[in-house]
Amino acid sequence: MFVVECKCVVKGFAEGEPLISDTPINFLTMIDTENGEIKDPNHNLYGKTLKGKIFVFPNSVGSSVGAYMLYSLKKKGSGPLAIICSNRMDITTASGCAISNIPAVYLKDNNLLQVLRNSRTMTVDCEGEQILIYQN
């Protein structure tokens, strides 16, 4: 087990499988709020869903309305368990998570993303500002 340090933005606790995006996310154009699927055909996670996953991405980009997409996902039961931003926690993601009670953290050092890649499951402990990584 590894421990990765993080900074807390929205409090909470979540345990589950990660879904890792290497590229930034535009929540308005890339995510289907009905089922949490990544609907952008040019995205490398096209067709995968963030529903029930710990969604890891660098930061969100583009539309300011993206915050409402996180809220819609949560209302429809298609939201992520938690969010980890590997580059920086942007305002769209932070505000969307705050209104939707989705635990949200960002990595202190984005090189730590490599450690996250090696995990099948992880625990995001926002209060303790740490992510516990399990390899099997």
């Binding site: 933005v9 308005l28 969100s60 300011s64 305002i91």
Partner: protein, 386 residues
């Protein structure tokens, strides 16, 4: 982030759940941007008005918020889904949901601006004033050209600031953070049209990881049309909220070439041609309308052409006779709304559109799912009018 005692009380619910939720949002974005405290803002511009973007969850959410909150500062709002003065073929459901959204914002005290270019309509505060602008193109424009101070806010963070009159003192609200660390060198790149400026902004947004970036080869004085184009391009692709122009000797530089611009263009320009011409993302102002009028010079468009602009700008143009002159080309005005996620343009009624806007091209392609031919206004008028 430290809250004052009175702020803590509101967070704990002394003024009700809506105000507490607004403070929870401010606390989260304060933590995200490592703010020390909250500061007053003088103007909030809120996005999340078009039913096509926020959906049923948004409609119900705003209805609840409106029951428990009233805006503390001047609050303007983004475009909605259609032009209120024109008939349309939208469903009863769309119309009633859209009207509910408008009602909620009105109830909270928003100005009925329905514009993504509030800086062209309302009196501007002094340079250095803290504001909270959600519309990405307006945030970038206001930081970069007007000296206003805002982070690249979200629909919900600007809403929280409208309710509380406060925003975290962080990032682009602090003078020292407004100096870019990275400069883009764009020497040798063709910069003739608004579309070129839009593409440069779009590419820069993809490259930049910071909230402010420099263009070392651009002059800080630029045509209003170019300024709006580069701001909206930057806001579309990135998380960057500001740019500066001119040589920044202390910053790290990255050179970009024509190839990268072409790649960005290829990504957006999916079709050679289209059956509908769209102008106005951001909504056109008087300067762009008069430029369009000069280009048309008595010609007529050979296909349908829609111009999105705010009702305010449209009324001004009407008063001075510019609107009717532009209309004589066959183009029609569409107020209160914007091409991005317009419910009026879908794959069912349109195969592909032609636009000069990089932001418009991006949303038409990825959200409205129609083909796009990206051409600057001059080329477009020349090609599609006679």
């Amino acid at each position: 982030m430290e809250l004052t005692k009175s702020e803590e009380k509101i967070l704990d619910g002394s003024e009700g759940e809506i105000h507490a939720a607004a403070y929870r949002v401010l606390l989260a974005i304060g933590r995200a941007t490592e703010a020390e405290k909250l500061v007053p803002i003088q103007w909030a511009h809120v996005s999340g008005v078009n039913y096509n973007t926020i959906g049923d969850a948004g409609v119900n959410f705003l209805q609840e918020v409106a029951k428990g909150a009233h805006f503390k500062v001047r609050t303007t709002i983004n475009p909605m889904g259609y032009d209120r003065s024109k008939p349309n073929a939208l469903s009863e459901n769309f119309l009633s949901k859209q009207m509910q959204i408008v009602k909620s914002y009105k109830q909270m005290g928003a100005m009925q601006s329905f514009s993504c270019t509030p800086y062209e309509i309302f009196r501007l505060p002094r340079k250095g004033t803290s504001v909270s602008f959600a519309e990405s193109s307006a945030a970038v424009f206001s930081n970069s050209f007007l000296g206003l101070m805002t982070n690249k806010e979200s629909a919900l963070s600007a809403l929280a600031s409208a309710i509380t009159g406060k925003s975290p003192y962080s990032d682009l609200r602090i003078e020292q953070s407004r100096t870019p660390k990275v400069a883009l060198k764009c020497k040798g790149i063709t910069m003739n049209s608004e579309t070129d400026y839009g593409l440069l902004g779009y590419l820069a947004g993809k490259i930049s990881k910071d909230s402010c970036i420099a263009f070392s080869d651009l002059k800080s004085e630029m045509d209003m049309m170019f300024a709006k184009a580069i701001s909206s391009g930057l806001g579309t692709s990135g998380s960057c909220g500001m740019f500066t122009s001119g040589n920044m000797s202390k910053s790290e530089s990255i050179a970009i070439d024509e190839d990268e611009i072409s790649k960005a263009k290829d990504e957006l320009n999916t079709d050679e041609d289209g059956d509908l011409i769209l102008f106005g993302s951001p909504q056109l102002g008087l300067s762009e309308l008069s430029y369009l009028h000069d280009l048309i010079a008595g010609r007529k468009f050979d296909r349908k052409c829609i111009i999105f602009c705010s009702r305010y700008v449209h009324n001004q143009a009407r008063k001075i006779g510019l609107a009717s002159k532009v209309e004589s080309s066959g183009a029609e005005f569409m107020c209160d709304s914007c091409m991005c996620l317009s419910p009026l343009i879908t794959r069912d009624n349109t195969d592909s559109i032609i636009t000069n806007s990089v932001k418009g091209a991006y949303y038409m392609k990825s959200s409205n799912r129609v083909g796009v031919a990206l051409k600057d206004m001059k080329t477009l008028v020349k090609t599609y009018s006679e």
